[in-house]
Amino acid sequence: EDQVTQSPEALRLQEGESSSLNCSYTVSGLRGLFWYRQDPGKGPEFLFTLYSAGEEKEKERLKATLTKKESFLHITAPKPEDSATYLCAVQVTGNQFYFGTGTSLTVIP
């Protein structure tokens, strides 16, 4: 069965304290791995797509990396406005998507 697991479930950081979020997956036929940000009461907002092991993408304070079994979202010197739930999703053969349960990030000023 295809599985996507995110850790930790919740993370509290001081402003400026860098950290990483993890997304591990066991799927067959991976076509892509996606990171989204979700604010309370809103739809997910696209951040990154990664397609092959070794790939990295950056956007402002965020950097996503991919291996054959997991992906990391690194947050460098976070700010309070980075507080949100970060979701990982995988696209498998065909056009189906599986999401993880997310990591709730709180950045304290």
Binding site: G43, F46, Y51, G94, N95, F97, F99, T101
Partner: protein
């Protein structure tokens, strides 16, 4: 900036009633999706739609669900006979392509409450 819109923002219905949730995808997008998120749980894929037909559907998307693109702009999700467990946030998403470039843009969601 183009965006996906959804109506209504909140729908309350009685168990057994039919509901139609509406979405207007981004105009040049070709792939459309419905997801649901039960409160406190993960986002779950329901269905993807391309070229006026379903391309993939999950186990959740049973005979009670249907999707339609009735005109050039709207994309709807119909639940024929709602159950209490259908209460969730329903998100519509669209993308320009699939495969090498598949950034999905999500709408703000419709909160469905079944009483």
């Amino acid at each position: 900036e183009p965006e996906v819109t959804q109506t209504p923002s909140h729908q309350v219905t009685q168990m057994g009633q039919e509901v139609i949730l509406r979405c207007v995808p981004i105009s040049n997008h070709l792939y459309f999706y419905w997801y649901r998120q039960i409160l406190g749980q993960k986002v779950e894929f329901l269905v993807s739609f391309y070229n006026n037909e379903i391309s993939e559907k999950s186990e959740i998307f049973d005979d009670q669900f249907s999707v339609e693109r009735p005109d050039g702009s709207n994309f709807t999700l119909k639940i024929r006979s709602t159950k209490l467990e259908d209460s969730a946030m329903y998100f519509c998403a669209s993308s320009e392509a699939v495969g090498d470039y598949n950034e999905q843009f999500f709408g703000p969601g419709t909160r469905l409450t079944v009483l």
